[in-house]
């Protein structure tokens, strides 16, 4: 079975793809931090952040349809906030919409959540779609993220699809014996499936560890090669970080 990987567009060729993962990570996290700490009542810094995201997205040659679909993951959260807006008693004038009314304060909360969520998520999508997962993890390691976290993430990325495949095979075997899983008492069957999936994963972990030990693994991962940041990497990191911080700081001074 073939799966859709989070880094499926990471092998395109573009100026953004060619950058050092560290430069991309620092620059995009700077945009996220600037964005989420900006007060909601000024709108123009958000325009700066959004412009940065759009410029990078355009330079990365990722299909826009792909970016938009991936951004849908935040839709439920925004929707929940939107549903709550009529019940918020914020400050400012009230707008009557027939059945219910909304306050300006309520709308401000909605705008705030939507703008911050969309910009932050698109930064993360850009980072993960323009960098191969392995390079991203090595980049994080060189930024002194503890090896424990990067290793766990790398294992997860390697094995999640194998576990999904296993679940899929179990489901097929079950369905081909006419199981439909509609009734409450079917929950027992599903429970058994989850349990055996867990056991299989645990056994696999054991075998993977044995295979690693057989090749001389003694608990610490060997480091390989260091790469160096070049002029374009520094330039990208500097310009993006500076622009995002400028947007944030000007608000502070006002």
């Amino acid at each position: 079975m073939r799966h859709d990987f989070i880094d499926r567009y990471s092998r395109l060729e573009s100026p953004v793809h060619a950058l050092d993962p560290r430069a991309k990570a620092i620059a995009l996290f700077a945009v996220i931090i600037a964005c989420v700490t900006t007060p909601a009542n000024v709108w123009w810094p958000y325009a700066i952040y959004a412009a940065l995201v759009l410029i990078i997205a355009n330079a990365s040659r990722l299909p826009f349809s792909y970016l938009l679909t991936r951004m849908l993951v935040v839709a439920p959260f925004i929707l929940v906030v939107a549903v709550c807006v009529p019940f918020m008693h914020g400050t400012g004038p009230t707008y009557d919409l027939g059945v219910f009314s909304v306050t300006q304060g309520g709308l401000l909360v909605l705008w705030n959540v939507a703008a911050k969520a969309l910009i932050s998520v698109s930064c993360l999508i850009l980072l993960s779609s323009t960098t191969e997962f392995a390079d991203l993890m090595h980049g994080f390691e060189r930024l002194h993220v503890p090896q424990f976290f990067t290793t766990v993430a790398a294992f997860m990325y390697r094995y999640i699809f194998i576990i999904i495949d296993e679940a899929e095979r179990m489901k097929r075997a079950r369905d081909s014996r006419n199981f439909r899983g509609r009734w409450l008492w079917h929950i027992k069957v599903i429970g058994h499936m989850v349990a055996s999936l867990f056991l299989r994963s645990q056994e696999r972990a054991e075998r993977v560890y044995q295979a690693m030990s057989a090749r001389g693994f003694d608990g610490s991962f060997p480091r390989w090669k260091e790469t160096h940041m070049h002029a374009p990497d520094w330039a990208f990191m500097g310009i993006v970080t500076a622009t995002a911080l400028a947007g944030r700081l000007v608000v502070l001074w006002k």
């Binding site: 993890m137 390697r158 696999r204 993977v208 057989a214 090749r215 001389g216 390989w224």
Partner: protein
């Protein structure tokens, strides 16, 4: 004449092993494998073949008995040396290949042997070329076919230059063409080769010797031509 210990690649004496749940997997195995021999270990499911293979480089250590590799006893103190000598290829390539890219996986063993980065680069390309997988350094194992993963698995071990190569079911689930290519590859490899398998054809074609196991014991040991034509024996131990 009794040969010197170093003439044996692997020497197993009265090895017993029980799984944590109490099941006896090995009940006193004696086995000596000479250097540069190619040996098939055969037997029905649950005979203890894979369990025995895991003892060859100390992944499992028996409750009693002794395993020696090139005259070195397999114990905690010698583990690093033993694992440099004995390379073990696991049955499921998804167990063997755990890294995000092929290159990292093939480099994993040599790096654990504390080789220099330049040497490791060389080892990786050499092992991949050997398996006909050159140019796949940057690919991810999870996008590969079963046969490709299997070849990479062998490359991860060959990169460490083992003197003894142990393979657990190397051609199980392979298509006929993959199996044929694999046999050709093993034929030209030098060194001691131990193959755990159900494949009678492969044992006949590749091996100097067939060791037949059943219920945790070695029940027959001899040339493939003799052992594998003894239908009564094969029938008795579930191989035909």
């Amino acid at each position: 004449m009794i040969p010197f210990a170093r003439e044996y690649a692997i020497s197993v004496t009265d090895l017993e092993y029980s799984y944590p749940d109490g099941t006896k997997a090995l009940r006193g195995v004696d086995l000596k494998i000479r250097r540069n021999e190619t040996v098939a270990i055969m037997g029905p499911n649950g005979a203890g073949k894979s369990t025995l293979a895991l003892h060859f480089n100390g992944i499992l250590t028996g409750s009693s008995g002794k395993v020696e590799v090139m005259g070195i006893e397999v114990n905690k103190k010698n583990m690093r040396k033993v694992r440099d000598i004995v390379g073990l290829v696991f049955q499921d390539p998804d167990d063997q290949l755990f890294s995000p890219t092929v290159r990292e996986d093939v480099a994993f063993g040599p790096l654990n042997q504390r080789r220099s980065p330049e040497r490791v680069d060389h080892d990786v390309s050499r092992a991949l070329a050997w398996e006909g997988m050159e140019g796949s350094e940057q690919r991810s194992p999870h996008n590969m076919s079963f046969g490709e993963k299997k070849r990479i698995s062998v490359a991860t071990v060959l990169a460490m230059d083992p003197e003894v190569l142990v393979m657990d079911e190397p051609v199980a689930n392979m298509d006929p063409r993959g199996r044929r290519a694999f046999l050709e590859l093993i034929k030209v490899l030098e060194g001691t080769k131990i193959i755990v398998t159900h494949d009678l054809g492969m044992a006949r074609e590749l091996c100097d010797r067939v060791v037949l196991m059943d219920k945790g014991l070695v029940v027959a040991d001899g040339r493939p031509a003799a052992t594998l034509s003894d239908e009564v024996l094969l029938e008795k131990h579930g191989l035909i």
